[in-house]
């Protein structure tokens, strides 16, 4: 039971991060355009954490 609960919590945590990175309103337009105004460490973090699917979509634009 304990194991099952911790698995459920992990799944939920992953779901939460997946939502935050891949869904939701974007008001800055093209992500790559905002790069110029944002410091590089931050940009690196964002790109690192983006899912493969997001990176592929951005690359296809």
């Amino acid at each position: 039971m304990v194991e099952r609960r911790s698995l459920a919590e992990q799944v939920t945590l992953l779901d939460l991060v997946d939502r935050v990175l891949n869904k939701g309103v974007v008001v800055t337009g093209d992500v790559t355009l905002s790069v110029a105004d944002v410091d590089l460490v931050y940009v690196g973090l964002r790109l690192l954490l983006a899912s493969a699917a997001t990176l592929e979509r951005e690359a296809a634009r």
Binding site: V11, T12, L13, D15, L16, V17, R19, V20, L21, N22, K23, G24, V25, V26, V27, T28, G29, V31, S34, D37, V38, Y42, L45, R46, L49
Partner: protein, 187 residues
Amino acid sequence: MMHLYAFARGLRELEAELETRRFGSLLAVVGADEPDPLQHGLVVEGLLDRADAVLPVRFGERFGTEDELAGAIAPRLEALEAQLDHVAGCVEVGVRIVPRDEPADGDDGAAYMRARLREQLAADEVHRALAVKARDSVRTNRDAGYLVARADVDGFSQAVQRLLESRPGLDVLCTGPWAPYSFAAAT
């Protein structure tokens, strides 16, 4: 720097480190911190219980000045207000079909495709049955999101439960209630 978390309406209270800016009928919820994605998500989920309507913003929307924030929102204000109207009073329930009969090593291609087809048909059926009970729905293959009025969440999860009991061969993972990320489109 300001980090944008969400747009809201009918906000009753706010955590100390957050602030709001008003645009039309919207409140933009911002903070000076640089959250990581998990913190961002937890803040947005926390808003869900404190507001009449929450429209989540994707992680990574940062603004150097008030003018930059206003400049980004102004041209999209009508679209944002319409999206907030759409999700008002609602939460998102996530439903994922978990494949049970993954083909074993040594299965041939035909067996693999049959397993995929069975999975697909089962997912279609589940989605059709649940979509009619939701205000809106989106689906990508195994994952679906349902926009459900807050008051209907119990009824919706009971419907999921009944569906599971009537289809013992199916593994379904139900998550939520979430802030309605899947119904907050890029503008």
